[in-house]
Symmetry: C7
Subunit: 93 residues, 7 copies
């Protein structure tokens, strides 16, 4: 992966609905729609009260994130999403 | 439970009105409508002035939370809610 | 009382106008309307610059609070209000 | 006085225009209109970077405050105003 | 001067256009219009990260301030302005 | 380069679409559109809780940034962009 | 120069377009339009986490600043601009 997100940002490879992990299906609701993806790159961490803290998510984690968060980029024909760790809701094991 | 919420987030299994805990009934009002649920997963804690602090709620707690808070997810046919601990109003014993 | 508010929240039992404490009557004004109640449960405290600090109000205190603050809940047929201590204006002795 | 304001709040007894202190008359302007009153109760202080700090105003001080600040209460037939110290502009000696 | 501003507030005696100091004339523009005055009273200082810090302006300083800042008061027939030090742009020597 | 950005700002030389680095093509979407460029000057760093911290990006880095961020300047016939490091999403290696 | 800006403010003497420094021409764009000027006075510094920090810009620096920032004043027939250092984008060497 030749992309390095800054600070508390991560790069996500979105997972299509038909290859959903762990039996989770995300229903269409009037609420904020979460989506799933795999973390492919993480930033160097975030500053919390002056101390640099590693991100909680690691490369390879399957995660649920807020649909309207982040910025889409296309790398070697594949679409990715760059978002902040705070836009990630949970890790799926 | 194969879902791990991040930071100060928790996963709630909502409780239907007909199985309400402890005799509490939440009336329909013009105000923010609270709802009840059971905590099924908690995040690793929140940073407060640079120190990681464990969440107050534990797995198994019955809680009241703000209706419009959080994000719904469906796991193995059951609906859950991922929200921040600050959207939880109280624990019912 | 089988309800435990989180953090800096308190549970208030509202006092009806005809049983007002200490001769205080709250006039109808165009301003924010305060109301009176009795504290029936208090949270574990609030974090202030990284230190947990006990709430100023205690169970049994008669308080004046902002009318539109908080969330109403009904417990065993009695209505209560869950609000943050910062929505409480004063204690009546 | 049987009312104790919380934290950085104070209780003010407004002074009518015809009993104005120290020759100050507050003209009607298009700007925020200040008003005068006497402090009758003060809170326990405010937290500033984790340390509790006493309020600058004392009981008995004549003060100028912003007109639209605070909440009116009526105690034993007298109207009072509960507001935050930060809504007080100056002390009149 | 029998008026003591609170905290980081100062009392200004506005200077009329025809008695402008140091040759500065403030043109009418579509931008925020500054005005000149003399400091007649200063507050006890402001809290910056928990430490009380004296104000930079002193009684007697001629200052330029933002036109729409502050609150007008009339004392012994003279109009004054109470504003925060942060609304003062510069001192004229 | 005779331009020195202040604090946490950097100067970017935008890269045209036809000379895109590393095979990344940024699709036109309804979302915030990122763009690519090369860092040609960096500020002295940013203050994080009172400590000056060097920027993560270096001169020569290829970066993706938010399209609507920053301010365009023209230097010796070449267009540059001055933006804050926080508007840079990722470094391309 | 008989004007002393407060805190993190600086006084700028704008440079007309026809006397632009270093070959930089600032194009008219739909974006925030930067402008050039020379620093003629600087404030005493800004507080960053309780410590007073000198400003980065010095008297004599040629700077690019945001067009709509600051307040215009006229001193001895010359127009100046008082703005905060954070409204300065870069120093031109």
């Amino acid at each position: 992966m030749n992309i390095k997100p800054l600070g508390d940002r991560v790069v996500i490879k979105p997972i299509e609905a038909e290859e959903v992990v762990g039996g989770i299906v995300l229903p269409g609701t009037a609420k904020e729609k979460p989506q799933q993806g795999e973390v492919v790159a993480v930033g160097t961490g975030e500053y919390i009260d002056g101390k640099k803290v590693e991100l909680e998510v690691k490369v390879g984690d399957k995660v649920i994130y807020s649909k309207y968060a982040g910025t889409e980029v296309k790398l070697d024909g594949q679409e990715y999403l760059i978002l902040k760790q705070s836009d990630i809701l949970a890790i799926l094991n």
